[in-house]
Symmetry: C2
Subunit: 683 residues, 2 copies
Amino acid sequence: MSTPPQWVQALRPSGPQGHELLAQERAKSTINVDQLSTFLFTKTGLERKQRILKILESEKVFDKSQNYFSGRVDRFERALARSKRLRQLAQEHGFSQDDMMVANDIVSEPGPYGLHESMFLLTLRDQGTPEQHEKFLKPALEYRYIGCYAQTELGHGSNVRGLETTATWNQEDKTFTIHSPSLTASKWWIGSLGRTANHAVVMAQLIVNGKNRGPHPFVVQIRDLETHELLENVYAGDIGPKFGYNTMDNGFLLFNKVKVPHISMLARFSSVAPSSGEYIQPKSASLVYGSMTWVRSTIVLQAGSVLARGVTIATRYCSIRRQFQDRDAPEWEKGENQVINYTTVQIRLLPLLATTFALHFTGSAMMAMYTASMEKMRSGTGGGGMLADLHATSCGLKSLASHTAAEGLEVCRRACGGHGYSSFSGIGPFYADYLPTVTWEGDNYMLTQQVARYLLKTARAVLSGKAKKNQNDTVDILMNYLARQDQGCAFDILGNDSDIVAAFAWRSAFLTFDALKRRDEQKRSWNSLLVDFYRLSRAHSQYFIVKNFHDTLTQPNFKNLDASTRELLHDLFRLYALNTLEQEGSEFYTSAAVTVRQIQLTRSTAIMALLEKVRPHAVALVDAWAFSDFQLDSSLGRADGKVYEDMFRCATTLNPLNKVTVDPYPDSKVLFRKVDGVVKGKL
Amino acid sequence: MSTPPQWVQALRPSGPQGHELLAQERAKSTINVDQLSTFLFTKTGLERKQRILKILESEKVFDKSQNYFSGRVDRFERALARSKRLRQLAQEHGFSQDDMMVANDIVSEPGPYGLHESMFLLTLRDQGTPEQHEKFLKPALEYRYIGCYAQTELGHGSNVRGLETTATWNQEDKTFTIHSPSLTASKWWIGSLGRTANHAVVMAQLIVNGKNRGPHPFVVQIRDLETHELLENVYAGDIGPKFGYNTMDNGFLLFNKVKVPHISMLARFSSVAPSSGEYIQPKSASLVYGSMTWVRSTIVLQAGSVLARGVTIATRYCSIRRQFQDRDAPEWEKGENQVINYTTVQIRLLPLLATTFALHFTGSAMMAMYTASMEKMRSGTGGGGMLADLHATSCGLKSLASHTAAEGLEVCRRACGGHGYSSFSGIGPFYADYLPTVTWEGDNYMLTQQVARYLLKTARAVLSGKAKKNQNDTVDILMNYLARQDQGCAFDILGNDSDIVAAFAWRSAFLTFDALKRRDEQKRSWNSLLVDFYRLSRAHSQYFIVKNFHDTLTQPNFKNLDASTRELLHDLFRLYALNTLEQEGSEFYTSAAVTVRQIQLTRSTAIMALLEKVRPHAVALVDAWAFSDFQLDSSLGRADGKVYEDMFRCATTLNPLNKVTVDPYPDSKVLFRKVDGVVKGKL
C-alpha cells in the first residue's frame, strides 16, 4: 500500500485533541508526580530506567514496529537477534543484574536466552560444587555453554516426585545413565531448550543400587558445540506455538540411555560417593525455601508493574475516548463525554489502579522482610519464625497477585472498547506473554494448599498454647481472634483505616479456625476441603496486602510526600481495601467481621465517593509509574495522547497485508493478484 | 526436523492410557448420550452436522494442521481460499442457511466473506426497495458485488448518532456526496473491508437542505470490479493485526467527497424524494428491534456451544491427566489421581458444564418466544408485550452470556494446566477469536442500561397500576414481589426447585424497586447509578436463565428421556442455579430472598454434593454435545484420549521451527545456520 493520498494526510481527529485532553487531566491533579515516582522506585531506579532506555532505543534491532506481523519462525529469529545484541550490550556497558532486569522489562519479550540467564546459571551456582563451578558455570557465564532447566515432563508438571526420567548410577564405570522410559517422560515446556541450548540441567530420579532417591539435577550436554546438532541418543526440539511466549523456544527432550560422568550430578547438597556408590543425603532444605520465597516476592512486585502497564494504557485512552453525552447533562454542555467519566468505567479501572500500588508495596515489603529475616538468621538472632511465615504467605500471594494481574490486564483491554482488541493497544500480546505466570512457580490453585497447611498448623499451635505472641504476624492475628471471639468485634471500616486492616485479619482468622474444625473435628477429607483452602488462602493474602499497604502509609519516608499526594494514597488504600471487602462481602459478614448494613453502605456510598475523589488524579497517578512509550509500545497508551494518528499510522504504514491485492471472486482460483505491486495471478 | 529416530517412535505414554481412562469414564455413566444429543439438537440437526462434516473433511483446503504456524498474510490467504471453496461447495450441494451455519462452525475460523454473507446481504434485503434488490442484492447474491457493513468509525463505536461520515443530498444533480470530514470519521473495524469487498453499506449522517437527519445506510462501490483497485477519492485498507480474528480483513475507509446516485440510499424505511428533495420519515422501528432480538438470541445460543467446546476439551483432558496421589488415599491405592477428581478442578469445570446446558436452553427458549410473539403480532392476536419484554431481556442476556462464555473458555484453558497454554489445546486461539463478541452487537456494559431502563419503566407501570397481570413475565414478578413484600418470603432453595426460581425472581424485583427509589425518589444522577444498573441487569438475566432451564425440565418432550438422564439434568439445573446464587450471595441475602445460613449451607454442603453427583457423568455429558474432533482441533480434547501422542506428533511433525538450526553464540552474527537442511550462515 502506497503512502496515503494528500487529502488523507491532511485529516486530523475531530473535537478536542488527545494531547489537549491529557494536558487538561494533568493540570487538574494536584499531586506531585515526580515525587511519587521517586517514592515508588527511588532516584537510582528511575535513573537506571532512563539510562538503559537510551541505550536500547538507539539500537535498530529492538525496534518493535514489526512485532505483530510475522509468523512464528520470523519472530523467533528476531528474538534471537535481540538476545544476542542485549548480551553484547551488557558486556560493553557492564550491566549489573538490576540493569539486566530493567533491560528485559523494556524489551518486553521473552527471548531464547531467558532460561539460560535465569534458572540454568542459578542452579549451577546454587547446587554446584567449586569443581562443578569451574567445569560448568565458567563456560556458561561465557556463553559457550548455553543451557536450560529441564524439569517438567509431558505427563508431569506440579508433581516433581512423579517425574519419570531416570539417572541410574553405574558403579563399574562411575557414570550415570540418563533415560526416558516412556513418551510422557519427555521433558516438555523447557524454555530455551527447543533450538538454543547446548546443555541442560535435567531433573531425574536418581537410582543407586536399585533404590530410587528422588529427583536430582544433572548437567547434560545435548547438542554439539560446533555444529549445534543434537548428540546421539538425544531427541529434542521446539514444542510448537503457544497462546503467547512465541519468541521463546520452549522445548521437549528425550534420552535413550545416555551416559554421563560422575561430575554431571550437581553435588552441593547430595551426592553419590564415586568410590563406594554410597548415596549422601541432602541437609536442610531451608536455603531452597529461601530462594523460592525470593522468586515469589519478585512475582508479586512484578504483578504490580505488569498490571500498571494495562492501567496506564486504559486510563490514558479512556481520558481521550469520548462516547455519548451525559444523560443528565444540561443542553448547553455540548460534545461527547470522556468515557473515564462513566462510573461503569471507573468501577473497573480505578480499583485496579489502586491495586497496582497495593501489589507494589506488598512486593517491596516482602523483599524487605525476607532480607531482614535472613540477616537475623545469619547473625543468629532469630528470624526463623518470620521467614517460615513469609514462605507460606508468599505462596498465597504469588497465586493472588499473578491472578489479579492477569485478570486485571484483560479488564483493562476490554475497558478500551473495540480498540483494545487491536494489537496496537499493546495490551493483548503482553497479556498473552504474561499468562504462564498463573501456572509456573507453583500452579495458582495448587499453591493455596501450602498456605492452608501452614495456617492450620499455626492454629493448632495457638490452640495448644505452643505458639508464642510476637513470634510472627499470623500467630498474633489468630491469638487476637481467639481472645475477642466471644465479645465479638465492631470494626469501624468506614471511619477508621486500622479497623479495615483488623476486619481483614478477623475474617482470615475466622476462616482458619473454621477450616481447622472441619479437618480436625469433623474429619473431613483433604480433597473435600480444597475449595475452602483456596478461599482461605485468598482471604489471608488479601489481609497481607491490605496490612502492607497500610503499613507503607505509616513509614517515616512516607511523610516526605506532599500532603495532597499522601491523602490520595490513603484514598487508594481505602479504595483497594473496601472494593475487595465488597466483592468478598459474603465472607466478611459470615465471619461477623462487619455487618450487612456496612457492606451495603460500602457498596452504595463509600466506594462511589472514593471513585469520585480518585478520578481527577487518574492520569497523574499512571504517569507516576513512569513507563516510557518505547516500553508500552501502545497506540492507545501514548503519553502524548496522539491515539488516533498512531492507530492510523500503524495500519497504513506498518501493515504488510495492505501490500496485497486479492482476487475476491469465489470462482477464481487466484487468491493474490498482486503482492507489493508484482503481479502473482492473472487479472 | 527429520522423522523421530526409531527409539523415540517406540515410546508410549506410561500408566493407564488415555483411551482406557476415557473408556472407563464412559462406562461409569448411566446416561443415554445419544438420546441427550438428540434432545439438544434434534435428529435432523445431528444428521446435518454429520453430512457437512463429511464434505468438509475430504477437502484439503480445510485441513487445520498449519493454522497456528503462519504469519498474518499467509493466514489470510488460506482463509480466503477456504471462503471461496466453501462458497463453491454451498452451490454444488445446495447448502441451506442452516447448513452454512453448521459449516462455519466446523471450519471455526472467521473468513473474508464473513460480513458479506451476513450484514451486507441482510441490510440490502431488509432495507432495500425492490428496485434496489434488483440493482444491489442480485449481484451480491451472485458474489459479483462483495460487500461489507461500514458503521463503526475510528472515533465512534457504540454511539451511532455520533458518527461523523456525511451523505449530503445534492438537489441539482440528484446525488449524495459521501464524505469523511476528519481522521476520526474513518470507518474502522469493518469486517471484509480491508482487502476483500468491492462495495460497502456505509452508515452516514444524511444531510438534506442543511438539516441533519441522522445516520442512514448508503451502498457505495469502493473498488474496481475488474482490477479490484480502490476507486478515486476512496482510501481503504486493513487495520492491522488483532488479538484474534486475524483471518479476517477488518478494514478502514475514508471518502473524499465521493458522489453516488440517488438509488444508493437504501430506501425501504426512509428516503429523499428525488424531485422535491423532501425527506420522508421512517415508520416504526419495531422490525429493526425484532431482528436485533433475533441476533442476540443467536449469541446466547452460540455462547452455550462456544463454552461447551472449552468444557469438552478440559473435561476429557482432566480425566486423562493425573497428578499426585490423593492425600487421604490408603497406601495400597497406587498411582496418581485423575485431576478431575480434585474438588478445586470440579468447582471450576462442573458448574461451567451445567452452564453450557443453561445457555443452550435459554437461547432456544428465546428463539421460540421470539417466533411465537412474531406469529401473534402478524395474526393480530397480541404478542407485543412479550416481544418488548424479550427485546429488553435479550440485551442483558447477550451481555451475560457472552461474558460467561469468554470467561469460561479461559477458565477451561487454565484448568488444563500448562498444556492449556499450547495452541494445540485448541482453546486459546478459539477464545481469542470469540472475544470480540463481548464488545459487538452492543458493548456488554452499555447494553445493561437498556435492561435497567426497561425494568424501571415496567416498575413504574406496575406501581401506577397501568401494567396488567400476565402482560409479560417481568410485570408478573414485580407484582408478585409487591404483593408479598411485607410478609416476606421463605424460599426453600435447598429442597424445592421452583423455590430456587422464585428466589432469583425475588432478588431481581428487589433490585429493580431499589434502583427505582434511587432514581425517582432520591433523584440520583443516571451516571451514578450505572454500576447498580449493571448489577440489576445481571440479576435479571440470571433469573431468566434459571427460569428457562427449569421450564425446559417440565416440557413434554423432556419426559422422553431416560430417568437417569432426567435426574442428572435436574442436578445440573441445581448446580448452575445454586452455584450462581452462592457467587452472588451478597445480593441474595440483602434482598432477603434467602438467609445467611442458607448461603452457608449452599456453599459448604449442597454444591459439594452436586459436584460429587455430576462427576461420574462428566465425560458422557460433554460427549452429548457431539463435537467432532475435526471441529475441536485439539490434542487435549480428542474423543479417543490419545492426548500425549498427539501433542508429540504436532510438535515434531507439524512445527516448522524445528527445521531451523540456530547459531546460539552471542558473538556470532549468524542467526540461522541451516533451514531445512540448507546452509544459511557459515558454520
